[in-house]
Amino acid sequence: MTDLASTVRAKRPEFRNINAFSDLPSYKLPPAGIVSILHRVSGAILFVLMPFIIWMFDTSVSSEFSFARFTHLFGAGIGFVPGWFFKLVALAIMWSYLHHFIAGLRHLWMDLSHDAVTKEFGHSSALVTLTLGSLLTLALGAKLFGLY
């Protein structure tokens, strides 16, 4: 036995499973973590709503008649579903696209510049991503609902 192996070491920290009631309320995700999970969530939203996006592309470019159908959906709605519901769905697509776009640019920036791969840049760029995504969604949403 060498000295190295026989030396008594300090007890290493022990990690158990997270308890939903005692740990989760105090567990705080950093901004970069929030951007990361929202990048995934926004991508999934776009994936699920893809047929609606293509439907909008289809009706808006195919003919003047279908274009009228496209605009009618957001005004009068269809069947028992009112137009504002489709505006809300469109708003969800807008936010998802904007967040996914900006968070994606953040990824690309960090791939290109290794100076940007720091704790500080990760924090500040995450805050910029969240703010810019929200503000642009608010601005476009106000336009969508006819506030200006």
């Binding site: 999934a44 776009l46 994936f47 893809m50 293509i54 470019v61 994606g104 640019l105």
Partner: protein
């Protein structure tokens, strides 16, 4: 090394990391470029945008070319992303394989529809 052939072969998983990492970025750049070009055409047009102006953007041959490439890029980009989600959260191979197949059907169907719209413009 773990056995990965015969009955022990993994039917699901990425195991081609760099290629997909790169593909994800190349397709992302293409779609970002498309977004900027489309946005520029919308913003640079004068007056309210009706059917003529909107459909006119997609009627030029170079825009159709670009839109077609972007549809294919989106198909691949979404596949890599969604597959990563299934691989992270869904562990049973049978469920994961089923979801992979359904995702492919969903994406290929959507891409076909989008191309069809573009084709008849």
């Amino acid at each position: 090394m773990a056995v990965n052939y015969g009955t022990k072969r993994l039917a699901t998983g990425a195991h081609y990391g760099l290629r997909d990492w790169l593909a994800q970025r190349v397709t992302a750049c293409l779609m970002a470029l498309f977004t900027i070009i489309l946005l520029a055409q919308v913003l640079l047009s004068k007056g309210p945008i009706g059917y003529d102006k909107w459909a006119g953007i997609f009627s030029s041959q170079w825009m159709k070319f670009l839109t077609f490439v972007v549809i294919i890029a989106l198909l691949y980009h979404a596949w890599i992303g969604i597959r990563d989600i299934w691989m992270d959260y869904i562990k049973p191979v049978s469920v994961r394989l089923s979801l992979h197949v359904l995702s492919i059907i969903w994406l290929v169907g959507c891409a076909g529809w989008a191309v069809q719209v573009l084709w008849r413009l």
